[in-house]
């Protein structure tokens, strides 16, 4: 997995990296155009079906919170390393391509190692797959 699916603007940011950092990475243009809306995002969020006990427990814990600070603390403490891949895929889909692009921007802006670019490649692959699916079915 050494391919980054980047938009034109992201590609420019990547081009500014050192040659050593860029070495071994291939860039493919992310050209899909999809306009997300608040309604579409809320629908995707509402369609999420979670089965992982850890995530179900997290949701139950949040519902017991009485303050914003408690909710934030719970979310920030969460470790998702042992959550199943399918569940993670569900969550990314619910967030949608625009939020994912925001994440990609944040990771791209802080990338300084090959490990960072591996994470970036993973995020762009997920976005690419999501955009392909969404544009294929766009009404």
């Amino acid at each position: 997995m050494n391919t980054l699916y980047l938009t034109q603007a992201e590609h420019k940011t990547f081009d500014a990296f050192s040659d050593a950092l860029k070495d071994g990475w291939e860039v493919e243009a992310e050209t899909a155009q999809y306009t997300d809306t608040r309604q579409k995002q809320l629908i995707r969020l509402s369609l999420v079906r979670l089965h992982d006990p850890k995530l179900v427990a997290l949701r139950e814990s949040v519902q017991k919170c009485s303050t914003k600070e408690e909710v934030i603390a719970l979310l920030q403490e969460k470790d998702l390393t042992d959550v199943g891949n399918d569940e993670l895929a569900e969550l990314f889909f619910a967030l949608g391509p625009a939020t994912l692009s925001g994440l990609i921007y944040a990771v791209l802006a802080q990338s300084s190692t090959d490990k960072d670019l591996e994470a970036l490649a993973a995020l762009t692959l997920i976005r690419h797959t999501m955009l392909s699916a969404l544009t294929a079915h766009a009404s």
Binding site: Q33, K40, L47, S66, F92, T99
Partner: protein, 200 residues
């Protein structure tokens, strides 16, 4: 399910709010004489959605009683968007689980799970989606999604910044300044948008 007020937790305590209307198959099933899997199947065709629309419109008084925000003029669009999301979701998961791509995606997930310390924003966003998503809690948290994202300092990342270009990645002339928020996310800068966006 359809005639109950729902106890909804709020950030500042607990109060009862009306449940917003989002036409998931489970929700629609509560108003038409179909199981949720039958609703989902019917949503796949234009004719099917027109049929659901007609049946839901016959129940609009009941729906409005349960969901104060129900807007008949927006129902057809909501059904179309739900159908789009369901179909895209199916395609998306099928692509990820295709035998020839499973290894590649497995490595992608491993990579994402390995960097939460440096990029906690990813984990936090996913956790937020987990508590916001689904029919059990989603009706509340989805409605409060913007507030949640703003409280977490993730409103710009979550696409709530407004104009399309605001979130577009940029070519920094200088390294991004630290301290852009609790996750050190540098603030997005306006640039011609070339990626999907959420209109404000």
């Amino acid at each position: 399910m359809t005639n109950e007020s729902v106890e909804i937790p709020r950030f500042n305590g607990t109060e009862t709010l009306p449940e917003p209307f989002i036409p998931t198959p489970e929700k629609v099933s509560g108003y038409v004489d179909l199981r949720s899997d039958e609703v989902e199947a019917q949503m796949k065709s234009v004719e099917g959605r027109q049929g659901l629309y007609a049946q839901l419109m016959e129940r609009q008084e009941d729906i409005r009683r349960d969901h104060a925000d129900f807007a008949p003029e927006g129902l057809q669009g909501q059904l179309d968007d739900t159908a789009e999301a369901l179909a895209a979701h199916e395609t998306y998961l099928a692509e990820m689980n295709a035998p020839e791509k499973k290894g590649m995606f497995s490595r992608a997930w491993d990579s994402i799970k390995s960097f939460p310390r440096k990029h906690p924003v990813v984990t936090t966003l996913l956790a937020a989606a987990a508590v916001a998503g689904g029919i059990a809690a989603g009706f509340y948290m989805a409605g409060e999604w913007e507030l949640l994202m703003t409280s977490l300092g993730l409103d710009k990342i979550a696409g709530l910044a407004g104009a399309a270009g605001e979130l577009a990645p940029v070519t920094p002339e200088v390294p991004p300044l630290p301290g852009g928020g609790i996750y050190d996310v540098p603030p997005p800068m306006p640039t011609p948008g070339d990626f999907p966006h959420i209109p404000g």
